[in-house]
């Protein structure tokens, strides 16, 4: 190239060291040194990837006896085994060898029409650490046939940069989360290093960033030195609930309500409201991360409910809370019905379900971040009446799905699913649709590695038939 090639001159002059932000330098160094101190190769999900056997200490007879006693107590408390729901395997992901990398599937959600199952997948990368999470979809999940999982969107900078986003993906924190609104819009928590972001992916495939964790930090709602992790529930196309937990730093967990005020699907004018919660809710009011694998005492999961004629649930959501210390499992319904910025008024924070007798530190209520997973469901009975249930995976047993009625007992449904002994206790997941569809998803060990199996649960008699 000649000396007068100004393009070459300009470009070749660019390579100079640049000092990054000190916060980034320190956070990355801390993460790398943590990796050095870990015996195993670092993988996304941290503790969630530890073996199931790790949570079942040895085979001590006393422990076994305690587990059996707990199971008996649960039965006495009203758990009825019901075998009237059949399960049909409808999809299986290609097997993956976890020891060689990462290929994890999580956060399953059904489209409103029940035809498409969405999930977050963390693919293998060419190196040891995981790749950028991906939003996947399995179409015609309710129709059977030759099903394929297709990539909808990569949750990395490259795929989202077109929207002027400053999103990062990272190898710590969550793998992302997807929630589906009643009009089919997808709300995506895009994982980032200590600061998640919330995007909407509309049914016309346009997408928009709604909120970045840094906005909450700049608003002094979370410490500058820390970060924010999100969970999300979309109770309506124009109303999203955001659970924000501090990644580190002395800070409380907070609940936000995000509203698209004119309901036009453009969230540029979004309204963000902090919702004050009653003291009775076991929130971490002051929490500081002491190690990379530390978590607040209570794990929370959000889920939106479907609305029925005369029973609008677009302004509330369910929040499941699991105590890692005591094993207590609660489900609340939360709303701000009078728009006064809190859930302190009558009927705004209702305890829907409480089981205080969990086994702390053991399956299904262990300290490792695992938790039973919930999916609100509407069941249509043989006489056409509809009633609300909550499907819960892993509540009574690691391999069972249960239904919780607001006024009835816990009822196990479907078979015992073939879960993997190499997978943590919360491997079993559920996804439910607006018309009674119910799917159980479980990681299963195969000769070629771990594969995620999707089962459709169907009623075999009229008593509990789900209708379309």
């Amino acid at each position: 190239m000649s000396a007068t090639d100004h393009v070459a001159n300009l470009l070749s002059d660019l390579d100079r060291p640049v000092e990054p932000r000190s916060e980034f330098r320190q956070a990355l160094l801390r993460q790398l040194l943590d990796e050095f101190q870990e015996d195993a190769a670092p993988v996304r999900g941290g503790l969630l990837r530890r073996g199931f056997g790790q949570f079942l200490p040895g085979a001590a007879p006393r422990v076994r006896f305690a587990l059996i006693a707990a199971a008996v107590a649960l039965v006495i408390a009203g758990i009825a085994a019901a075998a009237y729901v059949a399960a049909q395997l409808v999809f299986e992901t290609p097997p993956t060898d976890l020891s060689a990398g990462v290929d994890e599937w999580s956060s399953f959600a059904l489209s409103p029409d029940g035809h498409t199952l969405y999930a977050i997948r963390v693919p293998k990368a060419e190196s040891a650490h995981p790749g950028v999470p991906q939003l996947m979809r399995i179409e015609n999940i309710d129709r059977g046939g030759q099903l394929q999982a297709k990539l909808v969107l990569g949750l990395g900078f490259g795929d989202l940069a077109g929207q002027g986003s400053d999103v990062q993906t990272g190898s710590v924190g969550s793998d992302g989360r997807v929630a589906v609104a009643a009009n089919g819009d997808l709300f995506l928590v895009v994982p980032a290093v200590a600061r998640d972001s919330l995007f909407v992916l509309r049914s016309d495939v346009s997408r928009q960033r709604i909120l970045d964790g840094r906005e909450l930090i700049r608003a002094n709602l979370f410490p500058t030195a820390g970060g924010v992790a999100f969970d999300v529930a979309a109770s309506a196309p124009d109303r999203v609930w955001l659970w924000a937990s501090p990644w580190e730093g002395d800070s409380p967990q907070r609940l936000f309500e995000l509203i698209d005020p004119n309901g036009d699907g453009n969230w540029n004018d979004r309204v963000l409201r902090t919702i004050e919660l009653p003291d009775a809710l076991p929130l971490a009011k002051q929490w500081q991360r002491t190690s990379w694998n530390a978590f607040p005492d209570w794990h929370w999961q959000l889920a939106a409910e479907q609305s029925l004629p005369g029973d609008n649930r677009s302004r509330s959501f369910l929040a499941a809370a699991l105590s890692r210390k005591t094993g207590e499992f609660r489900i609340y319904r939360i709303a701000d019905l009078n728009d006064d910025g809190d859930a302190l008024d009558p009927g705004e924070a209702t305890l829907v379900f409480d089981r205080p007798d969990g086994v702390a530190g053991e399956y299904p209520l262990n300290k490792a971040g695992a938790t039973p997973q919930i999916a609100p469901l509407i069941v249509t009975t043989g006489d056409g009446a509809q009633r609300r249930e909550i499907a819960v995976a892993g509540l009574t047993s690691p391999d069972r799905v249960s239904l919780i009625s607001e006024s009835g007992p816990i009822v196990e449904i479907g078979p015992a699913f073939p879960i993997s002994s190499d997978w943590p206790a919360n491997g079993l997941a559920v996804a439910a649709g607006a018309h009674g569809e119910l799917y159980a998803i479980t990681p299963r060990s195969t000769s070629s590695g771990l594969a995620w199996n999707v089962y459709r649960l169907r009623a075999e008699n009229a008593r509990e038939r789900s209708s379309r």
Partner: protein, 176 residues
């Protein structure tokens, strides 16, 4: 060579030695990625993190690294190209390549010119940027660029030519 071997062993076994390597390598790798990502701090931080995490993983596997800096530059380059390809997929058919040729950019140097060049590089379509980076920033020959990208030399020549036009156009825009 002895010194390098000691450094490699320390990298694998001693976090303090790794920290010294980190202090030296971080600004280089971050700068390498930042300029090639068009000054996008978030993308550069993301890729820097991925690069160092991969490096630590490899060290923990017991890999012997005789030249740590070239080694980690190699990792960073892989991460960068993955990033470009994701961008390329995202740009898809929306990437517009005007056909009209424009004049050369003026001869400039200094910090302001570098900042404009970084901004202009960000405006170049990802596939062309990839070729420009390899050719002019990394100093690869056209056959080496072709081998790195899995393309023919002729295709790479075309990419570079179009990339130069895109860069010049973007540079003149940011300069005005």
């Amino acid at each position: 060579m002895e010194l390098v071997v000691e450094e490699v062993e320390a990298l694998g076994l001693d976090p303090r030695a790794f920290r010294a390597f980190y202090d030296d390598a971080l600004p280089r790798i971050y700068g390498y990625l930042l300029h090639r990502c068009g000054g996008d701090v978030s993308a550069a931080e993301d890729l820097t993190q991925e690069t160092f995490l991969s490096a630590v993983c490899e060290l923990k596997k017991g890999q012997r690294v005789e030249a740590p800096l070239p080694w980690i530059y190699g990792i960073a380059r892989h991460k960068l190209f993955d990033h470009y390809r994701r961008q390329e997929r995202a740009e898809g058919p929306l990437a517009i390549e005007p056909s009209a040729e424009i004049g050369d950019v003026p001869f400039e140097c200094g910090q302001e010119a570098r900042e404009r060049a970084v901004a202009a590089l960000a405006g170049v379509p990802a596939s062309q940027r990839e070729a420009l980076v390899l050719r002019y920033l990394d100093g690869f020959s056209p056959p080496e660029v072709a081998a790195a990208l899995g393309k023919t030399v002729k295709a790479v020549d075309g990419l570079i030519a179009r990339g130069r036009e895109s860069f010049k156009r973007a540079y003149l825009e940011v300069s005005s």
